[in-house]
Symmetry: C2
Subunit: 703 residues, 2 copies
């Protein structure tokens, strides 16, 4: 079972240190020293052929000499010895390898990693790493790493792809007062990956929140699955999201960067909350690890300073949890705990005269009131009041109210006394921050978590075997023809197989055929050149629109063929596509790419300037269902247009979400065949009147 | 002279405390105590009729009893006594009143404020406040406030509209290690305002940067003028920028909020850098007070950890200073100071092995290289290196390089040792931050400052007297007619007087006149009903377009009149406007409002969905000139459309900027008359082909 296997890596009962050293300063020494210093309760077996004892632990020449059983082996040997040592571990019956050693795929030696994985598979061992700092756990009093000490104790677990950052963040837990139970260096992820740890953490009683620093995932879809199944909040900081950042990341890690933009969508689909930067990762982790989600929209802010109250209000709008005025009864009650010139509206300004009692009374009332979904308490240091006493008053009021399912965050603006009060609050389970916007941002994370729990679900998806079969025939024929781009007619046939409402388009090889097809389809029609060599049809004079009768159809056919020949004499001309002329509607675009990390991925946007000038598009990792498709329509800036802006009737979003679901099925079913595709434009009509895919394009994967 | 007057408030040589108290805990006691504790060197005169001595200072019954001259009087008496005491101060020859007392316009008693101002004017006294904490200065060892101590010493001066925030920030300077030379509580600004202090600070040797917390300005244009003239960087945190925040702010201060969106533009026009929140105000202030502006685009990042390097790179893009790869010669030199697996590309990754020497060598080389405009140094705490030593190495390298005109910011991610190293750096003049994105954000502020110094200039503006005279005739006629909305024809006449290229539009009262005008203007024409009672002309069937000949003109005239009468029988019908039909162009909109804080303000955007759905508009406080107008075109998201997106020719931006300049002149010249106006649409043609204002609207101020 996966859970037991990961247990041997993250909660091993016995540890061997392969490559242990008696020389201080060497990693093989530091790891043994750290296990000792951290108070690890299991057996520790240093392995080193030339030492008899390291730091009081009996040393063995080979792991096979160790008397008892060994759960995990921490590997600190040079890279050239790793595989031999892994063989020995396998023979010994070791269950997990924690491979600190570097020099694998991160420097281009993927072969060494594959060799190591093969050895591990042979002996049913799991691997953490290679190229890691190790793994640390407060609840197990275990520092199986070369990071100098266990982090400040906390309820979150950090998984990081950067070892340097683990060490720096470890130290920073003490200055920032944000603790972790575990810190796991995940490294090259040749075997166990972030998704495995996320899954394992569901069963870890010491962890209430998973905090991630991600440079690049390997298996994006496995990550999404694990995120959706997580019973605990997950917060991720993704680095390399800028264009130059992605390039810089590529130069320093072995992992695939993936399209930066797709990550944002994938996190959302996985139910993973995002951190904007390193500070924000610490800050949001603190709140997510201590507080329940914010289940409703009604946020109350209590303050002793109008200024910080307004700053919090601004921040609430900026972070997507805008505030409202409190209802009358709430205002009336709160008015009792402030002077005449205070304000009970929200933010509730108790004024600078507010002492412990007013704070406590207001907090106790507010958290208990059914209107209030979440509470932010702000304090500006004054000469007259005692920050720590007020902190204790807040905590006691919350205890007395006994409400466990509403989140509270706190901000103190002030000096040493305020800092001490905030430390006390955090130690007593209440997230506290040094600026009002930070307390609001933390609350926003709790709201995001509540919303993501609703939306990040497995799509309602089934493979369409009949459609797939039909599509494969068309694709195979094109491949047999030596092509990896389908013609528009072929692409539309594939779309059509999946039920996408394409405009009728058929191939005419002669003038007479063109007329017959135009009559069958119904005038007016559009006619376009069909030639694999002519991609830019308009430039070649190969497109005629609004052809209204037989005479015009004949003329158009001949003109198009003549123009095409003039444009490219040696072009292989299949004929002329005769196409239904769809009435004009709201122009939208669907596209797909095959992302290196996440696989088939859908893009949606409005057409024309919205895509070309405003880049107003949104992404989803496929498959998605109708409901998830409809969420995309809300995400674009021009969302209002689909709802019927400027007096127009709302567009048929039901038909559109249905079409996106089918498109998603198509690119998933044909994942091994389609490299990229698009439906552009998709003309969407009024509600109830459907849509039409006017042009279609499919590029096949090279085989 | 203004400078000397403000001197008496912020650097008084002698201070009286009017309302001094011998009772600890009272504000009148605290102020005297603070003056003493802070080591103030001038004479201190407590004024209190019932005490003879307070804290060792001889006490006087009335200020008129004080033997020597008095620069400033700190007023702590109850509000009802303030004016009487001010009279006494005036008689005594006091030059400045620092009015701590509250109970004025912030609680609706503007009358008391006006009375106080009148008294001050009578005796040529200046007033700071009322409703303030006081004013503090490290360089003068003066704490003339009830804030408990002087802030950590620094090179910036804080001016704040929130007294509570001043006290809290005062304490926070010690925990954040961001100091101030002065902290000025500005309060209700009944006399001296933020602009006055900004101007005064130009001559203050102890201040290198002005830091503002603003709730609402009173005289927006004076602020812009002071900002432009400032010789030092100014950074502002504006609270109440959200919809609910503005409402909350209104409930707790006496000042006008102004349209939140206009503030952003006004800050830009004033050359004022913005802070996003309280943390950001501290962080950016630190860099702006210690470092020169970032004059070019080439930013080099040196790091010992790839992870933080990539995070910095991401932040650089997010904050508008995207990074590039370093040129070959830079890379080659830097390669010498790192192991084989490091990276010299940018970010320059010295790897975790980097000690003081590599850092120092890289920094010394990089800051001296002509390609490098600014340098960000990142450090991830490791077990093997000494944070403080590396800090000293960085400082020494910078000293040796001797480059004074390029900025450097630093980030350390780590624990106590890193915190100590950062404190050392700040004390030695190098801004240092606890996360890489903060160091980047600080650098972005230095870049914004460099750019704002170029753009925030007085507009090249002259009043147009002839146009104003012509416009006033039309406006007076409309007022005489009892109207405060001009008709389209009148509005176009006003626009035309200012040289705005409106479509020819004339009034026809009869069918024959309509035909004659159509012929004069040239077919095709547009015809519209003219009636002050019919605002929605299309709804009334009062608009006909594309009228191609005489017969059509006759029919249109009659139909429009008939429709209008049917729509509103008692409407006062002036006739039918016959209008040149402008060829279609790119639709843009100009609008103006009269902002409560900033006065006449211009809005610009593209028409249709861009304004209505995307709210893609930008603002400027008038007047602006051509060059400043052109900057607006770059600010909208759809900026590319004016440059000729999707294969179209670029639009005539020269004509457009010329038009915006004229529009700006119009609303400034007619500031006392026009409440709001718009030119919608303004159709902009290809470069060299100009534009046409198709419709015009002017609403007059009620008189």
């Amino acid at each position: 079972m996966n859970h037991d296997e990961i247990n041997t890596l993250l909660k091993p009962k016995t540890i061997a240190v392969v490559g242990a050293s008696a020389t201080p300063g060497k990693i093989g020494y530091t790891v043994v020293e750290n296990l000792k210093k951290s108070g690890y309760k299991g057996a520790v077996y240093p392995i080193n052929p030339s030492a008899s004892d390291i730091l009081g632990f009996k040393c063995y020449a080979s792991i096979t000499d160790v008397p008892g059983s060994v759960d995990a082996a921490v590997m600190c040997v040079p890279v050239k010895l790793v595989n031999t040592c892994a063989e020995d571990c396998g023979k010994k019956g070791v269950k997990g390898l924690i491979v600190i050693t570097s020099g694998f795929s991160e420097v281009g030696r993927k072969d060494l990693e594959e060799e190591l994985v093969a050895t591990a598979r042979k002996y049913k061992m799991r691997i953490l790493g290679p190229n890691i700092v190790g793994t640390l756990s407060n609840s197990d009093k275990m520092n199986a790493s070369f990071a100098p000490f266990l982090p400040l104790d906390g309820k979150a677990t950090l998984i990081t792809q950067s070892g340097a950052l683990l060490i720096a963040m470890d130290a920073a837990t003490y200055t920032r007062r944000v603790g972790f139970d575990k810190m796991v260096s995940i490294g090259n992820m040749c075997d166990v990956d972030i998704a495995d740890i996320i899954e394992w953490l569901n069963g870890d009683e010491s962890t209430t929140c998973t905090s991630l620093y991600i440079e690049g995932l390997k298996d994006g879809r496995k990550f999404i699955k694990a995120g959706r199944a997580s019973k605990k909040p997950i917060i991720a900081l993704k680095s390399g999201v800028s264009a130059h950042g992605a390039a810089a990341a590529a130069s320093h890690t072995g992992s695939l960067a993936g399209a930066a933009k797709v990550y944002g969508s994938a996190f959302k689909q996985a139910g993973v909350i995002q951190a904007s930067d390193l500070d924000n990762l610490f800050d949001r982790t603190l709140a997510l690890s201590l507080m329940p989600p914010l289940k409703g929209e009604n946020l109350l802010v209590i303050t002793n300073g109008g200024g910080v109250g307004v700053l919090a209000t601004d921040a609430a709008e900026r972070y997507g949890i805008p505030m409202k005025f409190a209802p009358k009864d709430v205002q009336e009650e709160l008015k009792k705990h402030m002077p005449e010139f205070g304000s009970a509206k929200n933010p509730v300004d108790l004024t600078g005269m507010a002492g412990t009692e007013w704070y406590a009374e207001s907090v106790r009332f507010a958290i208990s009131h059914p209107w209030v979904d979440g509470l932010i308490v702000l304090y500006c240091e004054t000469a007259m009041t005692n920050p720590l006493e007020i902190a204790k008053g807040i905590k006691q009021a919350l205890n007395e109210a006994g409400i466990k399912d509403k989140p509270v965050t706190v901000s103190y603006v002030g000096g040493e006394k305020s800092a001490a009060a905030m430390s006390w609050l955090v130690e007593n389970g209440i997230p506290a921050y040094a600026a009002p916007d930070l307390a609001v941002n933390a609350m926003a994370a709790l709201r995001e978590y509540a919303l993501l729990r609703e939306t990040a679900k497995e799509p309602d998806y089934k493979s369409n075997d009949a459609a797939r079969k039909a599509a494969m025939q068309i694709i195979s024929a094109a491949r047999a023809d030596g092509r990896d781009a389908l013609t528009e007619i072929e692409a539309k046939q594939v779309f059509n197989a999946y039920g996408l409402p394409v405009t009728s388009t058929e191939l005419a090889k002669t003038e007479d055929e063109a007329v017959a097809l135009a009559k069958k389809i119904g005038f007016p029609v559009v006619m376009k050149i069909v030639s694999p060599e002519i991609l830019h049809k308009s430039d070649a004079g190969g497109v005629k629109v609004n052809i209204k009768d037989e005479a015009a159809a004949r003329e158009a056919f001949n003109t198009i063929i003549k123009n095409a020949k003039a444009y490219k004499a040696d072009a292989n001309i299949h004929g002329v596509a005769v196409q239904e002329m769809a009435p004009w509607g709201t122009e939208t675009i669907l596209g797909s790419t095959n992302d290196a990390t996440f696989g088939p991925t859908i893009m949606f946007g409005l057409g024309g300037i919205f895509v070309e000038v405003l880049k107003d598009v949104t992404f989803r990792v496929a498959p998605i269902d109708k409901v998830q498709a409809a969420e995309m329509f809300e995400e674009i800036r021009a969302a209002a247009i689909l709802k019927g802006a400027r007096g127009e009737a709302p567009r048929d979003r039901k038909a559109l979400s249905d079409t996106v679901e089918k498109y998603s099925s198509m690119i998933i079913d044909l994942e091994d065949e389609i490299s990229e595709s698009d439906a552009n434009p998709v003309l969407v009509y009024e509600e109830g009147k459907g849509l039409k895919v006017v042009d279609a394009r499919i590029i096949l994967k090279k085989k």
